[in-house]
């Protein structure tokens, strides 16, 4: 089957209600690892202060796209990309783009919780110290604020000076979220943030994502379709390096426009 015929025109699938500003705009985007093309002709609009989920089978390119939004792929030796990827008004792919500043504006949470082997306080303060000229009392205030936002403050307020490695897996992941929040990002990228967690911790993180979306734009990559259905506003379905379908989560899960999307969300493959 020719996959190209399945790809609808960009306007049809990803136009966003005009009341919201666009946080990320992607047009005719292609990404490569060496000669291998990982993403083909991606067109997508991510509205601000909503949760957008990327779903699709392994190796479909959803994580690759995520890692291009904050240029984490710069570190992969032979990774390159072309097309348009715009954050707010800034061209992400441009050579002039300062990745340090870009990554302050685009926070990231990884698959496995990866707190630094430092104290809880120092973990949250790490990014703030990098980016802000900030006094000690302001830093205290900021750390408390970020930990409250990540719903972790009550659990750790008495042991801020203890090692972050002593926390449970779910707490560690919320700490990583707090760490990302503490530099005040516009967009937060989450790369399967719950895949290493137990169901209880997963629920707490999902609640947190929902709450955070009031303030931040969130893009979440997930293998877990229920998770996408539960906590995202919009969903993009990736298959073999292309976006097959993107739109309101409700619609995509209940009345998918494409056969392949339907097959995937109903569990016929993936």
């Amino acid at each position: 089957m020719n996959v190209r015929t399945l790809t609808p025109m960009p306007e049809e699938i990803s136009s966003v209600p005009s009341t919201r500003e666009l946080a990320v705009t992607i047009r005719s985007f292609n990404a490569f690892y060496g000669d291998l093309q990982a993403l083909k002709d991606i067109n997508l609009e991510v509205p601000e202060r909503q949760v957008t989920a990327f779903i699709g089978p392994s190796g479909c390119g959803k994580s690759t796209l995520l890692k291009w939004i904050n240029r984490m792929n710069d570190m992969v030796l032979n990774a390159h990309a072309n097309g348009e990827l715009i954050l707010g008004k800034q061209d992400v792919l441009s050579r002039q783009t300062d990745v340090v500043d870009l990554r302050r504006r685009v926070g990231m949470v990884f698959q496995k919780p990866n707190p630094f082997p430092k104290s809880i306080f120092d973990n949250v303060a790490f990014g703030a110290k990098l980016h802000f000229k900030i006094s000690k009392s302001e830093l205290d205030q900021l750390v408390e604020w970020a930990l409250r936002k990540a719903a972790l403050w009550d659990e750790v307020k008495d042991r801020l000076k203890q090692s972050a490695l002593g926390l449970s897996g779910g707490q560690q992941q919320r700490l990583c979220i707090a760490r990302a929040i503490a530099v005040g990002p516009e967009v937060m990228l989450m790369d399967e943030p719950c895949s290493a967690l137990d169901p209880g911790s997963t629920t707490r993180i999902e609640d947190l994502i929902f709450e955070l979306a009031k303030q931040f734009t969130i893009i979440i990559v997930t293998h877990n379709l229920q998770q996408a259905a539960r906590c995202s506003d919009r969903t993009a379905f990736f298959y073999e390096g292309k976006i097959v379908e993107a739109g309101e989560t409700n619609q995509l899960f209940t009345r998918p426009a494409q056969k392949r999307t339907e097959d995937y969300v109903t569990g016929k493959f993936g």
């Binding site: 300062d98 340090v100 500043d101 703030a128 990098l130 980016h131 802000f132 000229k133 900030i134 302001e138 205030q141 900021l142 408390e144 604020w145 409250r148 936002k149 719903a151 403050w153 009550d154 530099v183 005040g184 707490r204 609640d207 947190l208 929902f210 709450e211 539960r230 906590c231």
Partner: protein, 321 residues
């Protein structure tokens, strides 16, 4: 989505009120650091360049001296530089043969012993034996070479070798054995690494065919680990050739051209340390330049061995990766 755990309205912070650090400053800082780091890396390059330039420049003071013919340096079988009387003879062979006599004895002892110990540790040893053997090897590896030289003079020569025959107080055999003891932990640990690198599946395959442990070890594991073991041997060889203090103490200071292990045997390293330590040697004299000539030969030999060892090791790495 009810039942949120988030606190009721944490006090809002406006992060944009914080003054941003300029990313340019961090980048400038980084470029300074990188410059310093490259400077550090350059020091090791400079060490090599310095060594090569020094050896070429200073040994040219020897080879270009009108008293010296390079042909005789390479063919003559007597070396008298550093001795006070008599005509000057400067054939490298006595020193070269001294080095290889002692190296030969050392490897004759260290290679089989080290290899068998490695096989035992890798294929046979129960946990309890391992727990004794491994630290013992580590302690042995950490013993300074001057201590082994002392051991050769005060124990090996008088108590082990003297009863066996007419060994001189300073002789090639005791120095050779002491250098062998020095190489033993090195051979063992490198050979064990090579044996451990043989994939488990290969062993399982052979056991599955009903082989005994001995057969698996000799017919499957050893051949598979061969290149790693050879490179371990070469590293031990380079170490033995370059060893100085043991031979300076135990092998005597007479350059001899013989195969007799009971005779004294000055090596290249022994000559260098002995000559450089004597008060009479000052820059500009023939003995001073001869140090660099011998050191250049020593450097070439060890470099060659190291490079061959590395080529072999890199090849065997490719096999299992």
């Amino acid at each position: 989505m009810a039942g949120m755990n988030v606190e009721s309205n944490p006090q809002e912070l406006i992060l944009s009120e914080f003054r941003l650090r300029s990313p340019g400053a961090a980048r400038f800082h980084q470029s300074l650091v990188v410059t310093v780091l490259i400077g550090c890396a350059l020091i090791s390059i400079l060490t090599t360049i310095g060594t090569i330039v020094m050896l070429i420049y200073e040994s040219s003071g020897f080879f270009l001296n009108e008293q010296i013919e390079i042909g005789k340096f390479l063919t003559d079988t007597r070396w008298t530089i550093g001795q006070t009387q008599g005509e000057i003879r400067y054939g490298i062979w006595p020193l070269l043969s001294g080095t290889f006599r002692i190296t030969g004895i050392a490897l004759l002892f260290a290679l089989p012993t080290g290899l068998i110990t490695a096989i035992y540790l890798s294929e046979y040893a129960p946990k309890k034996v391992r727990a004794v053997l491994k630290p013992a090897l580590e302690v042995l590896a950490g013993i300074p070479t001057v201590v082994l030289g002392f051991f050769a003079v005060t124990f090996l020569t008088p108590y082990l070798l003297a009863p066996l025959g007419d060994f001189k107080p300073f002789n090639a055999a005791s120095a050779g054995i002491a250098v062998g003891i020095l190489c033993l932990p090195l051979v063992t640990s490198l050979a064990e690494d090579a044996l451990q690198a043989v994939p488990r599946s290969l062993r399982e395959g052979a056991y599955g065919l009903g082989s005994t442990r001995f057969e698996v070890t000799i017919k499957v594991v050893l051949p598979a680990a061969l290149s790693g073991i050879v490179s371990a041997f070469l590293l031990a060889l380079a170490r033995a050739v370059g060893e100085t203090m043991v031979v300076a103490l135990a092998a005597g200071s007479t350059p001899t051209f013989t195969l007799d292990p009971r005779e004294p045997s000055q090596t290249m390293t022994g000559f260098i340390v002995e000559t450089i330590n004597s008060e009479s040697v000052v820059p500009g004299t023939l003995s001073y330049y001869s140090i660099y000539a011998v050191a250049a030969v020593l450097f070439l030999i060890t470099m060659l061995i190291t490079i061959i060892g590395q080529i072999i090791r890199n090849r065997y790495r490719e096999v299992y990766q």
